[in-house]
């Protein structure tokens, strides 16, 4: 779908839950059969709408977790205990349920393989979801665009897509995945053990601030990282950001 095109009306559509994947104790990936889905670009999101029996409607945005090349549309949802939507999606939804959503939405936080790189991806918590879509897109297209993912999590148990990321990392000499565990580290942990700071960014980013950076996560995380990247020489236009707030639930 070309960016230049006049977009059709954004309409609500129904998908059927085809598969549920437990990513961490709090995070689930929902794979949907969506017959009316027109395709998307890595980094875009969908809006999900839940309607209660009394007519009350709650709407939330979720980043698309799948690559455009994947067979099924996927979103990854973190359960927020006081959330209105995520507890239902992460706990009550079962295979065969219908889900109302619309999309694809957004164009700013998007990466297409033809844009090239190198690609620096920095994710905090479930901010890794759109970055994962970009990495899957990159792998599916078979490009050797250099890419680095710096992923900040509370603990190893909170790392979403851990096996997949490690597999992509070891299978691809042009991709490097680094973790920062901020609260709890396993014994012998060789990754970073603190919040992402300018020193970590300097060690992880490409020399001479080459390429494009995508930063996604909670607002404070995104602003710290984006400021840090500018601090080590990235031009603001090279850094694309997506913030999500605590009301995401």
């Amino acid at each position: 779908m070309a960016r230049a095109a006049v977009l059709g009306r954004l309409t609500w559509q129904l998908g059927e839950v085809a598969e549920l994947v437990d990513e961490t104790p709090r995070v689930k990936t929902i794979l949907l059969d969506a017959p009316d889905w027109a395709g998307h670009r890595a980094g875009q999101h969908v809006d999900v709408r839940l309607t209660a029996e009394d007519g009350y409607v709650a709407e939330r945005s979720y980043s698309i977790a799948s690559a455009p090349e994947d067979g099924r549309l996927a979103i990854t949802v973190e359960r927020l205990d006081d959330g209105e939507v995520s507890p239902y999606l992460a706990e009550e939804l079962v295979v065969g349920d219908k889900l109302e959503f619309r999309g694809p939405i957004g164009g700013y936080f998007v990466w297409e393989a033809r844009e090239g790189g190198p690609l620096l991806l920095v994710g905090g918590g479930s901010g890794v979801v759109p970055l994962r879509a970009m990495l899957r897109h990159r792998a599916a297209v078979g490009l050797d665009t250099p890419a680095r993912l710096l992923y900040s999590s509370r603990s190893l148990a909170d790392v979403i897509y851990h096996d997949e990321l490690d597999m992509l990392d070891s299978a691809d000499p042009h991709l490097e995945v680094r973790y920062a565990l901020t609260r709890e580290q396993p014994e012998g942990w060789s990754g970073y053990s603190r919040r992402v700071d300018e020193e970590i960014l300097r060690e992880t980013a490409y020399p001479n601030a080459e390429g494009i950076a995508f930063v996604c996560g909670p607002t404070r995380f995104v602003e710290t990282v984006a400021d840090g990247l500018v601090g080590i020489g990235y031009a603001p236009e090279q850094v694309r950001t997506e913030r999500f707030g605590p009301t995401g639930g």
Binding site: R3, A4, V6, S61, G107, Y108, T219, T241
Partner: protein
């Protein structure tokens, strides 16, 4: 909750903007009427905790645009934007 926690960005308003515009507006560039800064709409600040969405300049924080919707009607106030460059 602190004010900082309520700050989102233009990406979060992409669905709302798609209800109103046939072009992708998050990749449009706009100029702040107050300070002259130019930014893509996806990169500006958005506060959605008000009864509507308030778009603010990432440089000077002045209000660029406000959108309130209710019952199939939209109010759009874009007095803080000098111009928008939309990729058509």
């Amino acid at each position: 909750m602190e004010e900082q926690d309520l700050k989102l960005d233009g990406n979060s308003a992409a669905g709302l903007l798609r209800e109103l515009f046939t072009f992708e507006l998050t990749t449009a560039r706009g100029r702040c009427e107050n300070c002259g800064a130019v930014a893509e709409v996806g990169a500006v600040m958005v506060y959605a905790n008000a009864p509507g969405s308030v778009f603010r300049c990432p440089q000077c924080e002045s209000v660029l645009m406000r959108i309130v919707s209710n019952g199939g009607r939209y109010w759009l106030d874009a007095r803080g934007i000098s111009w928008l460059e939309i990729r058509a």
